[in-house]
Amino acid sequence: MSEAVATHAVHEELGFLRTYVFSTDHKMIARQFLFLGLFMMILGGLMALMIRWQLAWPETQVPGTRWIPEPFMTDGYMNPAFYNTLFTMHATIMIFFVIMPILVGCYGNFLIPLMIGARDMAFPVLNMLSFWVGAVAGVVMLAGFFVPGGHAASGWTSYAPLSAVTQYTGVDWGQNLWCISLIILGLSSLMGSINYITTIINMRAPGMTFFRLPLVIWSLFIVAILLLLALPVLTSALAMLLLDRMAGTSFFLPAGGGEPLLWQHLFWFFGHPEVYILILPAMGIASDILSVFSRKPIFGYRAMAFSMIGIAFLSWVVWGHHMFQSGMSPALGFSFMVTTMVIAVPSAIKTFNWLGTIWGGSIRFTTPMLNALAFVSMFVVGGLSGIFMASTPVDIFIHDTYFIVAHIHYVVFGGSVFGLFAAVYYWFPKMFGRMMNEPLGKIHFFTTFIAYNCTFFAMHILGIGGMMRRIYNPMQYEFLHPLQPINVFITWSAIALGLAQIPFVINFFWSLFAGRKAERNPWKANTLEWVAPSPPPHGNFDAIPVVYRGPYEYSSPEVTEDYLPQDRQLVPQRVATAH
C-alpha cells in the first residue's frame, strides 16, 4: 500500500524485458496468462478434432496428419495408443493449461487489484514467478510428446495401476513428465493463491468491505482457497505415483501391498474441488456481466456470496460420487449421493438469482451479455445432467459413458468457456485499451452456441445408448452401430465448432491493433476497474479510490444516470418537506 513506491513505479522507464517478459505488473502477467491459455486452447482443440474424426470415421486417414510420425500415426491412420494419448492430453491441456490459466491466472491477476482498488498484487515478484513457473510446466507437459514411448495415455485421471507401471501402457517418460509438469503447475498455482488471498484480505481500498466486493472477486477468493487446499493433495498423490514409477515403491500397486483405489480417493479429493475451481470464476464473471447489462442490481448479493461459500465447503465431501462403481463400499455410496444432491442446491440458488437479476432489467444484448446468458443456460443443463449421475442406481448405467463426457463438457465448456469468452469480450477494452468488434463477436457467439450444442447435447444420447468413454472405435461393438450416425453428426458439429472460433481469433488480433479506442468506462459499469484509465498504467489508479457502496447499484433512484460507481461520493442536501 505504499503510495510513494507505486507512484514512483509509474514514472520509471522499464526495458522491453522488464515490461513484456519478466514483468511484475499484474496486468502484464494477466495478459501473459491469457496468451498462454489461448495458445494451449488451439492445441487442445485440434486434439479434440482428431479424436472426433477417429470416432466418426474409425480407421480412416485423419486429414492433415500425415506428417505425424510413427508410432503415433501410421501414414495418417491413428494408432490406438496415440488415441489414448490424445484424449488424455486434450483434457489435461484444457483443464490445467487453458481454463485455469485464463480464468484463474489471467482474470484473477487482472481483476483482483483493479476491482478492489489496489495498485498491484501483494507480492509482484512472486506473481511474475507464478507465470513463469506455469510456463515451465507447460513446456514440460508439451515435451512429453517428444520422448520415447509417447505421452501419458492413461486418461487425465491417470488411474493407477494403469498409470503406475510402464508396461501397462508402454508409456515411460511421458507419464513421468505429466506428473512432474502438474507438480510444477501446482507450485505456480500456489504462488497465485498466496497472492490472491493476501491481496484480497489486505489491500482493499478504503471502504471496500467484503460485502462490497464484486462477486467475481468473491469467486476468485474462494477459488484461491480451494486451490490452496486441494492442489497439495494432488501434489502428494503425484509424488507417490512418481515414486511408484521410478523408485520401486508400491503405493498404488496391489502386488506390493498397495491400494489402487487410494489413488482415486486422493485424485478426486483434489478433483472435485478442481471442478469448482473451473466453474466458480465463470459464475462470478457471469454475475457481474448480467448485472451490468441488465442495468440492475444483482439479485440476492449475499445469497450469491454465501452459496459460493457453500459450494466450496461441500466440494470437499462429494468426491466419492466419481467412485460409485469403483468397488468402494456401497454403503458409502449413500452418503456421497446425499452430499452430491445437496451441492446442487447452492447452484440452483445461483441460477434463480441470475434469473432474478435479469427480471425487470433493461437488457442490452452485447456480446459479453450473450456469452454470460449462454453460460447460465448451459450451466443449467450441466447441473441438471449431474443429477443423473448423483443418483447411484442411474450412475451404474451411465458411469463411464458419453453421458459423463456430455456432462463435463456442459459444465466446463458450456460453463467455464462461455464465461471465459464473456470475460474476454467484457474486459478487453480495459485490458488492451481497445473495443472488440461487436458484429464479429455476435457471429462468433451464435455460431459457437449452435455448434456447441449440436456437438455436446448429442453426446447425452450416445451415453444413454451405452457408448463407453475413451473407446477408440465404436464400430467394434454391435450395440453401438445404430449410434454411429450420431457420432458422425457430432464430428461435423465439432468441426463447425472449431471453425466458429476463427471469427474470434480474427476479432481478437484485429481489435488488439486496430480496434476502436476504448474510453475509461465503455460499459457504464460501477466497479473500480472502470475508474482506472484504459488500459491502466503501472500502478493502476491516478489516486486510490474510496469506496462508498456495493458494486451493483444500477438504476438507483438516487441518481439520474442508470449507474452509480462504487467510488462516487454523493452528498445529499436535505430540506424539510413542503406539504
Partner: protein, 219 residues
C-alpha cells in the same frame, strides 16, 4: 431420448430405468421452466427507450422458496435411489449360478466352477470372453483383475462394476430374456481398451442344461 436406452433384460434394470425416467422428467421440466423464464425475461425486459430497470436487491421469501424446493426434491430423489442401490450393489441375493470373471489386458477370463459349484477344483472350466448363464436365475459374479482396473459392463442388464486388482468384488444379475449380449470393458485399461469385448449368452433353461452337458460331459 428414451428410445436410445438399450433393451433392458435384467430384473433390476427396470428400477434403474424408472429412476432414469423420473430424473429425466424432473430435470426436463426444470430446464424448460428455467430456460423458458429466461427467454420470456429477455424479450420482456429488453432495452427500450424511456424505461428504467427496476431497482431491487432481492427478495428473502423467494430466496427461501427456491432454496427449499430443490433441496426437498433432491433429498427425496436420494432416498428413492437408495432403495434400488442397496438392492443392486448393497447385497447379493441367494444365487444358484456362480462365475468368476478375471479381467486382464485385454480379455475377460471367465471361470465356471463346474458341477461341484466350487471354484478352485479340478472341474473348473475357463473360457475367454464367453459368459453363459441361464435365464431367470440369479447369477453371482466374482470380479477380479490381473493387471489394471477394468470395468465389467453389461449395457442390456444395466450392470457396471469395476474390477480392481488386489480385490474381489461381488456383483450379481438376473437376466429375463434369452439372447446374446455384449460385455465391453468400460474403464480405460490400455491401448487395447477399445475392443476388449466379451459376450453374454443367456440360455433358456433347456438350452442351458444342454450347454452344461456339452461342457462337462462326464457328470
Amino acid at each position: 431420448m428414451m428410445g436410445w436406452l438399450p433393451e433392458n433384460v435384467s430384473t433390476y434394470g427396470k428400477d434403474i430405468d424408472r429412476l432414469f425416467y423420473i430424473i429425466y422428467y424432473i430435470t426436463g421440466v426444470s430446464f424448460l421452466l428455467v430456460s423458458g423464464t429466461m427467454v420470456v425475461f429477455l424479450i420482456l425486459y429488453r432495452q427500450r427507450e424511456g424505461r428504467r430497470a427496476t431497482y431491487v436487491h432481492g427478495n428473502t421469501t423467494l430466496e427461501i422458496i427456491w432454496t427449499i424446493v430443490p433441496a426437498i426434491i433432491l433429498v427425496v430423489l436420494s432416498f428413492m435411489s437408495q432403495a434400488s442401490w442397496g438392492n443392486i450393489k448393497g447385497r447379493v441375493p441367494p444365487s444358484e449360478v456362480h462365475v468368476q470373471v478375471t479381467a486382464k489386458q485385454f480379455n475377460w477370463e471367465i471361470l465356471y466352477p463346474g458341477p461341484d459349484g466350487k471354484i478352485g477344483t479340478a472341474d473348473d472350466l475357463q473360457m475367454d470372453n464367453e459368459l453363459h448363464v441361464p435365464v431367470g436365475k440369479v447369477v453371482r459374479v466374482t470380479l477380479k483383475a490381473k493387471d489394471v482396473i477394468h470395468s465389467f459392463f453389461l449395457p442390456n442388464l444395466r450392470l457396471k462394476q469395476d474390477a480392481v486388482p488386489g480385490r474381489e468384488i461381488q456383483a450379481w444379475f438376473e437376466a429375463t430374456k434369452p439372447g446374446r449380449y455384449e460385455l465391453p470393458c468400460a474403464e480405460l485399461c490400455g491401448f487395447g481398451h477399445s475392443g476388449m469385448l466379451g459376450h453374454l449368452t443367456v440360455h433358456t433353461a433347456d438350452d442351458y442344461n444342454k450347454w452344461v452337458k456339452e461342457q462337462w460331459p462326464s457328470s
